[in-house]
């Protein structure tokens, strides 16, 4: 019984929970029931940029249509009055949004209004709306007002980010700015805590919080603890009791929230990567589960027929419905290329089958005698007709991945990312290097200046002792020659000096990748993705610092790295400042939240880690999702000051 309950609790991922909440909201806050012959209802959806970011990775336009949404418009766009239609608002309770909503009320744009606020609205703002409604005598038209507590963006079943619109506000740079004032820091922390609070309300669980001392993460933890505590104290209005979806199921198994500061591991976000999803995020424009391809340059000699070269911009949604993506987003790239090829072949086989059928059908008219064939064919035709839409969908997916993978491969070839990846892995695991760093930096063919900067920063961060001044000068010169901006280095230098005082640099896993069959580098020759010159590297499991911390905390292992982490339990009546956990059982559920930005590499590493553990779940969250380019930019901004 308990097991079943646990299983259902586990099955409802954060993604599903948020989707259900959204659908409920779109259905005028009545639980959504699928009825095949229900009467159609229609409504318009009005959202702001925040709402758009939350909805777009979860619901497609078609799904919105199925929910009866005829139009979905931005709050601040020009909207024409549409009488006789209810409007569902999904907005942040900010000043300008409220103003605009009041204006809508005054202009009598729609028949009735269902106001939904992404996070809790304050009393004074509510009164502003009430005032406007009174003035427009539209009080009865405001049918429902809801606080949705959905202020976070779910990207995967087990991954979320805080926000996308004002991400400069909670970026790594904002937190680590040397000239930040206390009030600014307060705003940053409040923003983060508000979103995290929304996350836990949606999850329906009160976590046990652990965090390292003396970092931004600690501030978040203190504030979050306070907020949860306040909410729990007021038992009547508590968001964690009553009909919360999973409250009962979680009452005896609470999740662990590990708050990690970005500063404990700066190398990983700079690291070149080798898994599909992370590569797409690193080299392409991958944003809220949508990848934008500039163009497919280069000769695309697809065996399916010479496709005309497209110069236009294309965007693809990589959704969880996409089986291939779901299966391979964590695989190393060469494997992905191979799988794309396989999929293509199997698809072609199916297509041939259908074509063959067609020819038989055409032939059938000539010899009438074959009755047995006829009956056989009717069945076949039926199956073919029913399988056609499926086949078309499959083709679309294969095309999508072919294009994406080709684009990624071009980048890999152009920038020699395989070399970088291998070399960085070696640096991080402190094995002997077969080639001097200077050679790579001064090699004009290998990669962009940014790649070189990343490589050097990783080397600098993970070196046991800093290179001597003379060496450093030499490196600097080489980097400048390669066209690098040295600002990031400035910042990293400061950071390293600071970190050395605080703690010894975290060591990275000491296993490494090994090139598989260097002689058989060239993939099977028929492959479209001829990976010549690209090493077929195989990832070996190694835990990144974040994963190691999580492992220690989840399994209650004793480790000097994590022993002094602070412990908060919002359900305890009196807060205590001890770092000794009361609960000695290992946790089943954990949420890792990186304050100051996360990336797909860590996410993938955590997913791989938890795959080996039975019955455990991890959610990965970050205040901002950046790739190395964006991170370097932030670092260089920090270094300028």
């Amino acid at each position: 019984m308990v097991g079943v309950k646990m299983a259902t609790a586990a099955a409802a991922s954060i993604r599903e929970r948020q989707t259900v909440a959204l659908k409920r909201m779109l259905n005028f806050n009545v639980p959504h029931v699928k009825n095949s012959t229900g009467e159609p209802v229609w409504k318009v959806l009005i959202y702001d940029r925040f709402g758009q970011d939350i909805i777009s990775p979860l619901l497609s336009v078609k799904e919105l249509r199925d929910m009866g949404i005829t139009l979905h418009l931005l709050l601040h766009s020009d909207r024409d009055p549409i009488p006789d239609v209810p409007a569902v608002y999904f907005v942040m309770p900010t000043e300008e949004n409220i103003d605009r909503m009041c204006q809508d009320l005054r202009n009598q744009l729609y028949e009735s209004y269902y106001l939904n606020f992404i996070s809790a609205i304050s009393r004074s703002k509510l009164e502003d709306i009430a005032n406007a409604a009174l003035a427009a005598s539209a009080v009865t038209q405001v049918a429902k007002v809801f606080d949705q507590y959905l202020n976070f963006i779910t990207l995967e079943d087990d991954m979320f980010v805080l926000c996308n619109q004002n991400k400069e506000l909670v970026s790594y740079r904002a937190i680590n700015r040397p000239d930040i004032t206390d009030t600014e820091m307060e705003t940053v922390m409040d923003t983060i805590v508000d979103s995290l609070f929304c996350f836990f309300v949606t999850l329906g669980a009160v976590p046990i919080i652990r965090c390292s001392r003396g970092t931004a993460a600690e501030m978040v933890a203190v504030k979050l603890d306070k907020k949860l505590r306040e909410n729990l104290r007021d038992a009547r209005n508590s968001l964690f009791t009553g009909d919360t979806l999973g409250a009962g199921q979680f009452s005896f198994q609470r999740p662990l929230l590990v708050l990690v500061d970005r500063n404990i591991d700066l190398a990983t976000p700079l690291h070149h990567t080798w898994t599909y999803q992370a590569l797409v995020h690193d080299v392409l424009d991958f944003h809220l589960n949508r990848v934008n391809l500039e163009e497919s340059s280069g000769v695309e000699n697809s065996p399916a027929g010479a496709r005309p070269k497209r110069k236009n911009k294309k965007s693809y949604d990589l959704t969880p419905v996409d089986k291939f993506w779901q299966k391979h987003k964590g695989s190393p790239f060469p494997e992905v290329a191979e799988s794309v090829q396989q999929e293509l072949e199997s698809y072609r086989a199916q297509e041939d089958e259908v074509k063959r059928l067609k020819s038989i059908m055409g032939l059938e008219g000539e010899d009438e005698g074959a009755i047995s064939m006829l009956s056989d064919n009717t069945a076949k035709l039926t199956s073919a007709v029913s399988s056609l839409p499926e086949l078309l969908e499959k083709k679309r997916l294969i095309d999508l991945h072919t294009n994406v993978a080709t684009a990624v491969l071009e980048h890999i070839k152009a920038r020699k990312l395989d070399v970088y990846f291998e070399y960085e892995e070696k640096i991080m695991s402190k094995t002997t290097l077969d080639k001097s760093l200077l050679d790579i930096i001064s090699d004009p063919d290998a990669g962009t200046p940014e790649d070189k900067m990343r490589l050097f920063l990783i080397y600098y961060i993970s070196a046991q002792q800093a290179p001597s001044e003379a060496d450093l000068e030499q490196y600097k010169k080489a980097l400048t020659d390669a066209g690098c901006n040295l600002n990031p280095l400035q910042y990293i230098k400061q950071w390293k000096a600071f970190a050395k005082m605080a703690s010894a640099p975290a060591s990275y896993g000491n296993t490494t990748t090994k090139p598989m069959g260097l002689l058989s580098r060239v993939m099977n020759t028929g492959s479209q993705f001829v990976m010549e010159g690209v090493k077929n590297l195989v990832l070996k499991q190694q835990n990144l610092p974040v994963t190691r911390i999580l492992d220690n905390l989840m399994e209650m292992k004793s480790n000097p790295e994590t022993d002094d982490y602070r412990y908060f339990d919002p359900k305890m009546l009196r807060g205590n400042d001890s770092s000794v956990p009361r609960n000695k059982n290992p946790f089943q559920e954990a949420i890792v939240f990186v304050v100051g930005g996360g990336n797909y590499i860590e996410y993938q590493n955590l997913v791989d880690y938890i795959k080996g553990k039975q019955g455990k779940h991890i959610l990965y969250g970050c205040s901002e999702l950046f790739n190395a380019t964006q991170f370097i930019k932030q670092l260089s901004q920090l270094g300028q000051k």
């Binding site: 909440a21 409920r24 806050n29 095949s36 012959t37 009467e39 159609p40 229609w42 318009v44 249509r65 009866g68 005829t70 139009l71 909207r79 024409d80 549409i82 009488p83 006789d84 239609v85 009598q108 028949e111 939904n116 809790a120 609205i121 009393r123 509510l126 009164e127 709306i129 009430a130 005032n131 409604a133 009174l134 003035a135 427009a136 005598s137 539209a138 009080v139 009865t140 038209q141 049918a143 429902k144 007002v145 809801f146 606080d147 949705q148 507590y149 309300v201 949606t202 329906g204 968001l239 009909d243 919360t244 979806l245 006829l374 009956s375 009717t378 069945a379 035709l381 039926t382 007709v385």
Partner: protein
């Protein structure tokens, strides 16, 4: 988890109202302060479109209710055997079919009408989009209800087919005896047999009752003339053969039936697809027509261009010819002179051979002279030379 703060909102409305009153601010609808006035529905004229859309929806809803209400009776082909109440005859079913079909047709016509009307009225882009989406919803709804009906109907047809099959199985043992008799009494049976068959198909349940007395009469006929064992054997063999034939025929028929059902299903799918494609084909047709027109225009343009080109060429040619002619005319004097010089230099050299050679200067002078003389100097120069 969403938190309903509607009550809070209402409360704050009241707070604001009382506050306004206290401050003496007269605000909009809340000025007179009566509660009814405050919460009254603001008088907004319902637009024609949405009320009509709702009307169509309620019609479709009625159709759905109607179908669902009669679903059980409609589907149950054995109702008149099994259940006492709620029986429905085939004619009633046919009536339902007919009604439903006309209803569907009127609904889809109404939607079509709405669509054209919505497109005709001039509205902003958003309203237009909204309306077409609403119409899509209604159409979808109608489709779903239609599907309900077609499912229902498919079940009914299937049941009827099953029933027929069952009733065919029933009389099988009878056919044996009948076949044996029929060979003997060919003259009598064919008309009756066919009659019987039709009866069997239409009223399968009546057949057993009817067949009893018939057998009796056959029994009488059988008693009239005795058959020799050979004859019996012969008949029996024939019987066997006939049965085999019948069975194989029956199997075939059954197979064909199955296939027909499948084909009809395919046909349905195809119809749907074809209907879907109709709009696309229409648009393609439009495009093609447009393209043809464009091509025609293009051709004409090209023709014109060619014509222009040709004219231009003629002019160029003319110009060139004129140029060359004018050049020729301008130069013609020179040419003639040169010719004349050539004419006279030959003889002049010949003249030089016999001692009276002219010096170059003289020849020049002659030339110059000849030039001055003009066009008709040829003879003159020649004359001078020979002198």
């Amino acid at each position: 988890m969403a938190v309903d703060i509607t009550l809070l909102f209402r409360a704050s409305v009241k707070t604001v109202k009382t506050r306004n009153k206290a401050l003496g601010v007269a605000v909009g609808g809340g000025a007179d302060g009566s509660r009814d006035e405050l919460f009254r529905r603001s008088p907004r004229p319902k637009s024609d479109f949405s009320s009509r859309a709702r009307e169509v929806i309620s019609h479709i809803g009625k159709l759905r209710d109607f179908l669902l209400e009669h679903r059980k009776d409609y589907i149950n082909a054995y109702s008149h055997i099994m259940s006492e109440y709620g029986r429905m005859t085939d004619t009633e079913r046919d009536q339902i079919d007919q009604d439903a079909q006309t209803f569907m047709r009127t609904c889809s016509e109404a939607i079509q009408q709405l669509r054209t009307q919505a497109h005709k009225e001039i509205h902003s882009q958003q309203v237009k989009e909204h309306r077409s989406a609403v119409l899509d919803f209604i159409e979808d709804y109608l489709k779903r209800v239609c599907k309900l009906y077609s499912e229902q109907r498919a079940i009914r047809v299937k049941r009827v087919v099953d029933k027929k099959r069952l009733s065919k199985l029933e009389p099988e043992p009878r056919t044996k005896t009948r076949a044996s008799v029929s060979s003997e009494k060919v003259s009598r049976s064919p008309s009756q047999e066919s009659e019987e068959k039709s009866v069997t198909e239409e009223y399968p349940e009546k057949v057993p009752a009817e067949s009893q007395p018939e057998l009796g009469t056959w029994g009488d006929g059988k008693g009239e003339d005795e058959l020799s064992p050979e004859e019996i054997q012969m008949f029996e063999q024939e019987n066997q053969r006939l049965i085999g034939e019948m069975n194989s025929l029956f199997d075939e028929v059954r197979q064909i039936e199955g296939r027909v059902v499948e084909i009809s299903r395919l046909q349905e799918i195809f119809t749907e697809k074809v209907l879907q494609q109709e709009a696309e084909i229409d648009s393609i047709h439009q495009l093609v027509v447009g393209a043809t027109e464009n091509i025609k225009e293009g051709n004409e343009d090209i023709r014109e261009a060619i014509k222009n080109n040709a004219g231009f060429r003629v002019w160029v040619l003319f110009f060139l010819v004129m140029c060359s002619f004018s050049l020729l005319f301008l130069d013609c004097g020179n040419h003639i002179c040169a010719e004349s010089m050539l004419v006279f230099t030959g003889p002049h050299l010949g003249v030089g051979a016999d001692g009276s050679a002219l010096p170059p200067a003289k020849s020049c002078a002659v030339y110059a002279k000849s030039r001055v003389c003009g066009a008709d100097t040829g003879t003159l120069v020649f004359f001078l030379c020979t002198e």
